[in-house]
Structures are given as structure tokens and as C-alpha cells.
Symmetry: C2
């Protein structure tokens, strides 16, 4: 047959947000795995850990003591990758050795005083306080003339490089626009200019109409496996309304996002009956003072697990040198995730 069957034939799919492609090999899901398997997830953590630098009342690396906070808590990273005082100078040796000073700010946000919780096991009301703190942090950094872009992200689980299980995320605010954000800016701007509408608004209505990759939804937000997902159970979280950035959120938007975050993370935990590792983060307009009406706020979840709590997807040889590759199709991943939704 010459017809391309997306559930059977090798093909590539376009990531409309970055302009890059992912290779999909659906026929290959039956491949046996003899390679590395992951250690069991850590033993259940205590509610308070005297050795944790994020728990209330404990001492941090810089000698300061955390307040005995009761819900959320934000502070500047003691080992910040970005510092406000870095010079902004540029070095350029003939276009071959090019470097630019990159000042910025790194913040840490504790989601809860409880050392043993995860987003999936927090109440929606408590997650709402986290979303509201993101809004406040974004507003402050967005107004800082040093800051050109704000990345809010969570590394969850030892497999994703989290050095502490205490529920927390980071904010890295850079002077320049990081490449991943720049690609999404360019694609959304191009679509807006050429088609006179918002790329993700149009994409979301098509997804809602086809109903093949939706995981869950509420009045404000939708979680789906994007058509171009690279990680096996990657999802994207989008507001139904055209929200450009966190500063446009209403109290209802915060509540709706909190509800979706709880459902997506609980569904992940259910899938392989394990605390699901992931990196998660939000993309929104850059903080350069522009309005960026083409920008549509969204979150990405990038989880590494493939087949069980101990078998992950490796993004290695072909992925690093060629393009990302996946076996299970985004459509089957969405189906599996829907079945794992908490009822």
C-alpha cells in the first residue's frame, strides 16, 4: 500500500512550535530490552527531613535559616547558574569564537513545607498557591530591566537530575532569550503574520475536534499529547483562552491550571504505579517589554519512562546527532494516559 498509515509506517512529524521533526517508528514497539534498567524509586520520604536544605527552619548552604513557612516559599538559589552582576560584554573572534556575558537571576520555589509530597498528592487549593507564587515571581522578574526571559521549571525524580526530593521548582531568568523559547517565538510570530491568528489557538481547536490525543481537560485548560511529542509520554498543557503570559491569569485561570497539573501528575504516577520522574516547565512571551500578541502560554511535561518504572527512553546516538526518535505513537500514548487518569 502507498498510503501512509501513522500507526504502522515509519514517518516523521513536524513540531509546529520549533520547526523541528521527530522520527516515529510504530512497528518497533515490540523490540525486547536488554539494556540498562533504572533503580527502584527512593523509599518513601519523611514529612520533615532535618538534613534537607528546603525544609522549614533548616539551614541552607549560605548559612541562612529557612523561615518556618506554612505553604510556599521562594528564595534566590545559593548555587545560581546566573548572577545579576555578570558583565554583558561580547567577545567575537572573526565569527568563529563568539561569547556574550549572560547576567540573570536563579530562584527556588518550595511547593510545600512537607518534604514527602509531590504535585500529584497535593490538594488543588495548595497547588493554586504555587501557581499564584509563579505569577508573583514572574511579575517581579518581568519588570526587571536585566531580565529578557523567564523559565519556570521542575526537575522531578533522581532520574531527571533532581538533587532533592522536597517538592520544589526553579526559575532561571536570563538576559537573553534561550534558543528553545526563541524557536517558539519565531514560529508563533510567523504564523500570526501569515495567517492572522494564533498558532496554538488553531492547533488546540483542531485537537479538541479530532479528540485523538487529549488526556484531560477542564473549563480553563487542556492537557494533550502533542502530535509531535518526542518523549514517550510527553504532554502539553494549554489554556483554552488566548493567554500570553502569567500576568494575564485570573484567579479562575490559576485554579484551572492547578486542577490540570494535579490530574496530569496523578495520571503519570498511576501509569506505571511509580512516582513518575519528569522535567516540566512553562513557556510564555519573552520579558523584553513587547506585547507579543502571537504568544500562547503553555506548559511542557518531558517524562523519560517508556515501558515501566525501570525502563526508560534514551535520547542518545541518533537523537543527539540526527533527530529525536520514538516508537510508541502519540495517539497510543494518549490512550494509555487516559486509562491511567484518576477517577
Amino acid at each position: 500500500a502507498d498510503m501512509l498509515r501513522l500507526q504502522h509506517d515509519s514517518h516523521r512529524r513536524l513540531n509546529i512550535l520549533t520547526g523541528e521533526w521527530v522520527l516515529v517508528s510504530p512497528h518497533r514497539t515490540s523490540r525486547p530490552w536488554q539494556g540498562q534498567t533504572e533503580a527502584k524509586a527512593e523509599a518513601v520520604a519523611p514529612a520533615y527531613d532535618p538534613g534537607c536544605y528546603l525544609c522549614p527552619g533548616n539551614m541552607r548552604a549560605n548559612g541562612e535559616r529557612n523561615p518556618t513557612y506554612e505553604d510556599v516559599f521562594a528564595f534566590t538559589n545559593d548555587f545560581a547558574a546566573l548572577l545579576p552582576e555578570s558583565p554583558q560584554e561580547e567577545i567575537d573572534n572573526n565569527g568563529l569564537l563568539v561569547a556574550r556575558g549572560e547576567p540573570g537571576v536563579c530562584r527556588v520555589i518550595c511547593f510545600s513545607p512537607r518534604h514527602d509530597l509531590t504535585l500529584s498528592r497535593m490538594s488543588v487549593a495548595d497547588i493554586e498557591k504555587v501557581v499564584d507564587l509563579w505569577r508573583a515571581e514572574f511579575a517581579r522578574l518581568d519588570a526587571d530591566p536585566l531580565v529578557g526571559a523567564v523559565q519556570i521549571f521542575e526537575n522531578r525524580g533522581a532520574m531527571m537530575g533532581a538533587s532533592n526530593p522536597h517538592p520544589h521548582c526553579q526559575i532561571w531568568a536570563t538576559h537573553s532569550e534561550p534558543d528553545e523559547l526563541a524557536k517558539e517565538s519565531a514560529r508563533q510570530r510567523g504564523y500570526y503574520a501569515g495567517r492572522g491568528g494564533c498558532l496554538l489557538c488553531d492547533y488546540l481547536s483542531l485537537e479538541l475536534e479530532q479528540d485523538a490525543r487529549i488526556v484531560c481537560a477542564n473549563d480553563g485548560f487542556v492537557a494533550l499529547v502533542p502530535f509531535w511529542a518526542t518523549w514517550p509520554f510527553e504532554t502539553m498543557v494549554l489554556p483554552r483562552r488566548h493567554l500570553v503570559a502569567l500576568d494575564e491569569f485570573s484567579a479562575e485561570d490559576s485554579r484551572a491550571l492547578a486542577n490540570i497539573l494535579k490530574r496530569v501528575t496523578a495520571c503519570y504516577d498511576n501509569l506505571f504505579s511509580t512516582p513518575f520522574p519528569y522535567s516540566m516547565g512553562f513557556h510564555q512571551r519573552p520579558s523584553d517589554g513587547g506585547a507579543h500578541p502571537h504568544w500562547h502560554f503553555h506548559g511542557h511535561f518531558y517524562p523519560p519512562l517508556l515501558r515501566s518504572a525501570s525502563i526508560r527512553k534514551f535520547m542518545v546516538g541518533f537523537e543527539l546527532l540526527g533527530s529525536p526518535q520514538r516508537d510508541i505513537t502519540p495517539e497510543s500514548a494518549a490512550e494509555r494516559l487516559r486509562e491511567a487518569l484518576p477517577r
Copy 2:
């Protein structure tokens, strides 16, 4: 001070081959690590493993028996991600859901009949046979009208997703040009058009002149830590002559590449006294029939280890959502690698 000091201040560096940036935070190398550590490397493997599907004389997944090969051996992957018969049709739903059939060929190359060897412990003469097989495989695939680009790569070590320690690499030949290659094509073409010379020839002479990031060299090839390296001990291997692809290699070039591959991998093993995991692969002109005089053949080594055999770099939250980030500078990495060179 307002002067940018590359060994002290946070900055970003331009990857001239892709046009993308890496964030460098040199002040952060003293950060303590409390996160995941890696298991010890596998126990020493036997010279022959009756359960290995790559050892001579053994049965493979498709029921075929391997020949009792004496040096190198190539066959078509039994679980190929790419198949020649996939239809090439395109699906395009309004520019929002875009997919293209991707036919291709996946090959496996055994480096040696010995199950327990690695490139670092093979003789240069035996590695030369591997290089010559790459040349033969490339010539055959390059001539196949189905094939538009050829990726030769090795995933070494369980940490890099290798499912079998038997020394081997893979070749994935795709119909279309994968994104990483396409970025390098575009940048080299642009430089050639604008400056009338080869980007990597000019870059290599600057590196040889500065002598700050060179790891080792011989008459034909140079191994260096690129100015824009993202992995802690990433290296690039370049021919001194302007070679566009493997089809231009002389017997001397093969020998010189074999010598450099042995020295780079042995130096990696020495660095943390452990069999060093990595993904490695070669980039060369696409196989579309064009001459691509702007293309300069080269290899990339992407090794994950950061501080010891058990502490790796995680490319997670900020890296996945923003841009790659590193702490140790490419200049100190090159110095450490030079000290680890076998004498």
C-alpha cells in the same frame, strides 16, 4: 570589572555549526552533589558470550546465525527503526498536523569478534578495519536513491542506552536530512557563501593557533573540545585536510582517524578510571547527489560523565526548555583530558 572573563563569569557561547547557544556558569563548579549517582560499570565481560546476538556464530532475533567473522561484520538491524518499504506520502492538515513517510535503512556494525573489547582497547590496525567498513557502507548507502543522509554512531555503555556491551555501532540511513545535520549544512553553506571558505577549516586553524582546547592530534586528524561544547567532556574530531565525506578518504586518512579514535577513547577511560560511556558519531555531506564543497567531515563525542565514574551531567529542565548549560569551561575540560592522555 566590566570585562567578560570566560573562566569566571556566566556567559553564553555560540555553536557556529548549529547557530545555537550554550550557557556556561564557570563559578558554579564547586556546587555539592546530593542527587542520583550511577551504578558501577558492568563487571568485565567474557571474550565470548553465548547469549550475545552479536558474537560470532550466535543466533540473532530473526533466526539467522552470525558468521564466525574474524574482524568486522555488518548486517541489517533486526529491529530497524527505518524500513526501505515505508511509503513516502505526506499528510498535512492545515500546516498544524504535518507528517511525512520516512523510508530508510538501519545497519549494525560489529567492531570485533571479541565481546569484551572497546575502541580504546583495540589495536589501531583493527580500528582501521572498522573505518574501512564505514567507508564501504557509506559508499553503498550513498549510492542508494532512497537514501538522503547517512548517520554512523555508537552508543557506548549502559548509561548511554547501549543494550549490548559487544563493541558495535549503528548506521541509520534516512530519506530526508535529519535536523542536526540540516543545521550544520545551513551554517557551513552560509559561511562558504559569505566568506568564500570552509567554516571548519578556518575554525581549526584558529584552534591550532590558540592551542587552548586541543586534546591530541596526528598528521591527519585533530581532537579538540569545541569552544561551544555542551557535554562536560565533549570533543570533536576533525581532519586537517578539507574532506567532505568518507568517500574522499585515503588509506592514510583511515589510519590517522583510527589512531585518533583510539587515543580519544583511551584518554576518556583514563579520566575517571572507568570505561567511559558516550554517544559518538560522524557528520558529513548529505547523500542527495550534490557536491556540497562547504561540508567538512567531522566526528562528535558526547559523553555524560561530569565529575567521576558515578556523577553525570543531567540535561533536564533548563536544558530541555531553554538551552544547554555547563559549569566546567571547555578550556579546563581540554586541560583535564590532555592530562589523561595515555603516554
